[in-house]
Symmetry: C2
Subunit: 188 residues, 2 copies
């Protein structure tokens, strides 16, 4: 693998594990097996490298979500598939985690991929829900964009509860609760 790619991949991992503030250039270099100069040759510095890593993580997260949302079955099935997807719950969300970091939120280059990912995800789920309402699969009346935001929030909040408890259980409960609420919106 090329040096750039190794640097980006190491940064993706470290941002996930330790956040932006907790990730040092030195740690990135060591994990990538690369010297100082090499990193600063390919990237302007920590923010530049982090931006590249976040863009790549965002792409990957979109692809994984799209696989569930474009899958087979009714709208309800596809949203349920998204909620039920197997996740490494205690590691949290690579993208959602960044929203807690003040330096990420303050830097437009770092926040952009985070914002775009959730905008896309909420919009995509809203689309599925709207289809379901139009097809008579889901009860009409509720605003699809609101329901979509709630679905995404349950997952992101589930991660928070799981890490707080050091256990996947609260995440699984939150998902089951959301599914129970959604089931009442089915018409079949």
């Amino acid at each position: 693998m090329a040096t750039q790619d190794r640097l980006i991949e190491s940064t993706q991992e470290l941002l996930w594990e330790r956040g932006y503030v907790g990730t040092s250039p030195k740690a990135i270099q060591q994990r990538a097996g690369v010297g100082q100069g090499s990193m600063y040759h390919h990237f302007d510095g920590k923010p530049d490298l982090a931006a590249a890593a976040l863009r790549r993580s965002a792409e990957q997260m979109r692809a994984v979500a799209e696989a569930d949302l474009a899958g087979p079955g009714t709208a309800h099935d596809r949203v349920a598939a998204y909620l039920r997807r197997e996740r490494d719950v205690l590691r949290g969300c690579r993208i959602g985690r960044m929203a807690q970091d003040p330096e990420v939120v303050a830097d437009p280059r770092l926040r952009a991929p985070v914002e775009e990912t959730f905008d896309w995800l909420r919009g995509r789920i809203a689309e599925v829900i709207a289809e379901g309402q139009a097809a008579g699969d889901l009860r009409p009346g509720a605003e699809p964009a609101d329901l979509a935001a709630a679905v995404v929030a349950v997952v992101q909040g589930g991660y928070v509860l799981a890490r707080a408890a050091d256990s996947a259980e609260p995440f699984e409960r939150a998902v089951r609760g959301a599914l129970a609420l959604l089931a009442a919106h089915r018409t079949d």
Copy 2:
């Protein structure tokens, strides 16, 4: 105000704004208007002071939530009041934020108040929902603990979406979505 209290309060604010990793003893001292020696006289170090600050924030968060959950109205009304409470959305949750910090999660003294707060909150909301089901206010069948976890997750996830978007809108949408889903579980 006593020096200890000023230190604890400054630490509460800084943990909220910058997280545990991002909060330095120096910053705490400066905000409290206190010298180095003074801080180390009253507390063993950063972890000790942070633990005291988190315990106090946890107490305060419990009291605020209990005010909504013990309020007037049906079970549905009280859960809705909790969801609808006015929040400083872009600042996020003082307690939930800590769950993202690896050093907090790794240190039992720091994680304990976080875990206990969410355990209590999920349990308390589950109690209210169970009451509502027993009273015929809420549709029976769904597991109260699951619904409670979903409700708490919507709020915590709402904060994540809001900070990602640098706007309160996704939070408000998520709450509206959750309310729409809950409304379908009312029996009146």
